[in-house]
Amino acid sequence: MSLLEVDRIDAYYGQSHILRDLSLEIEDGEVCALLGRNGAGKTTTLRCVAGATPPDVRSGEIRFDGDEVVGRETEDVSISGIGLVPEERRIFPNLTVEENLHLAEVSRNSSNLIGRNLSQVSETRPLREIYDAFPRLDDRQNQMAGTLSGGEQQMLAIARALRQNPRLLMLDEPYEGLAPQIIEDVEDAIRRISEEGTTVLLVEQNAAAAIKIAERCYIVDQGEIVYEGPSEELRADEETRQRYLGV
């Protein structure tokens, strides 16, 4: 059984039909990339997996570790082991770095968990481990997150998701707007996360960047999966890249 199974979903934003009969599977422990042009449906796919609304999933199933995701509240999906590093990072600028990282801990408070139908709630990852992995954040513990540089904010968004100790980490265009040196740092971080056993789903427009760290790629175009294969194969297949990604 795959860790994540997206099985023939159709998703809508209001009247607009965004995802059409889309299926994909992520195996436990792999790094997989979901590629596609702007507006192809990448972020929508991630939002469906995260249990966020909108979009509205009208048919099909999404199973994470065998449990159905569609119809569950996004906070329940998250706590069952899916971490998201969203587009635009969405850190809390009015909180300090430490407070941003503390929210995962708050989610494990009994006042938050009681009365919810949750099959498994993992322990959070210790703060020390997070700071060891991201020393820049360690130096800025008490700084307001809104005053961090773009690269540091991206690190914080990743660290915040990791603090939840997810089994599947989804990153939505994590390199966007970052300087080349910082991009390397983010790549290193993703590699390390993968080596520690976390499954990674990376969403990217830039095929070259994704192929560098992903083992397997999907391409989504106009809401449909149009390609699936190992990264090596996609690297060699110029025609497919040209047609669906324009590179």
Partner: protein, 316 residues
């Protein structure tokens, strides 16, 4: 003479400002976290005022229920002190019910629907009170003793001379409650969720937090503060069914505009700025007092639409 007037303005402004701040905190945090504009917030002030008068009467020495069962015989004069506990508790419960049955079904509805339903509720509360108790104006009922301490009568202050002692206690009590609220928001996990929620509530949920629970609590807390403001108001201002809109809802909105949506510190700051402004204008040119309040708010809107401490625009 100038100094005398200035101190008097400052003291009156602190009293009025404390009420504005107590009202503004709830309205602002509810808007910030839930994107819910509660036009019935003033009704909570109104309820707090009337509930306050009721509790003061029923728990005081010379009349009321406790008197009828002979409590005064053992020398237990509660009055205002009991109301200080009971009114916020009552407001909290009303807030919980209001969130559950009025606000929550409208979270996903358009803003105009939210405005209509809450304004309708405000009118209903006002008319029910008028229907039950009449449209009479009640005189302020300041306590003379509180927890065994004498708080009534005048006190001799330097420069300005005699001043009603209770007014000073009132400012102290209000500041204590405001400070407590600030600490809850700044220092507790609940407050952390609220602060994060004012910025991006979906992201908070994506970290596994069921933010709806904090919503109920925020709403109830805001209601308790508004009701408490109503009780404070009873002790130095007249009470009539119109005060919910005139003396609570409109000022609370102006506080929101000045301080910014979702900011507790903004509501406190905005409350005191407007309170001192209105107190000053009342002394200097009372016919302009209300207009100047709007002018201050309009000025803030022009130059800083998100408010002085807000993270997002009130009008979005």
């Amino acid at each position: 003479m100038v100094l005398e007037t200035a101190i008097e303005i400052l003291l009156n402004g602190l009293q009025q400002g404390a009420i504005f701040a107590l009202l503004g905190i709830g309205l602002s945090v509810i808007l910030g976290t839930m994107d819910f504009l509660n036009l019935a917030h003033g009704a909570l002030y109104l309820i707090g005022g009337y509930a306050g008068m009721y509790f003061i009467r029923e728990t005081s020495l010379s009349a009321g229920y406790l008197n009828s069962i002979g409590v005064d015989a053992i020398g237990l004069g509660l009055g205002f002190a009991a109301a200080m506990i009971l009114v916020p508790v009552f407001g909290f419960i009303v807030g919980l019910l209001m969130e559950r049955y009025v606000a929550e079904p409208f979270y996903d509805r358009p803003e105009t629907d939210q405005l209509l339903v809450t304004f309708g509720l405000a009118l209903i509360v006002q008319e029910v009170i008028k229907g039950m108790l009449g449209g009479n104006t009640f005189q302020p009922t300041a306590p003379t003793t509180l927890f065994g301490i004498n708080v009534g009568g005048p006190v001799m202050l330097p420069i300005i001379g005699n001043y009603p002692q209770w007014r000073l206690y009132l400012v102290g009590i209000a500041l204590f409650v405001i400070g407590l609220t600030y600490l809850v928001i700044e220092k507790t996990d609940f407050g952390l969720v609220v602060q994060a929620g004012t910025h991006d509530s979906e992201m908070v949920r994506m970290l596994g937090i069921r933010i709806n629970r904090s919503y109920s609590l925020v709403f109830a807390m805001g209601a308790a503060l508004a009701a408490f403001a109503g009780l404070i108001g009873v002790s130095f201002q007249t009470v009539s069914p119109q005060i919910g809109t005139e003396r609570a809802l409109i000022p609370a909105f102006l506080v929101l505009v000045v301080g910014g949506a979702g900011s507790v510190i903004g509501a406190i700051f905005g409350g005191f700025v407007l309170g001192i402004t209105v107190a000053g204008m009342t002394v200097l040119a009372s016919q302009w007092a209300q207009i100047v309040l709007y002018a201050v708010a309009a000025g803030v809107l022009l130059f800083r639409p998100e408010g002085l401490f807000g993270s997002k625009g009130v009008v979005e």
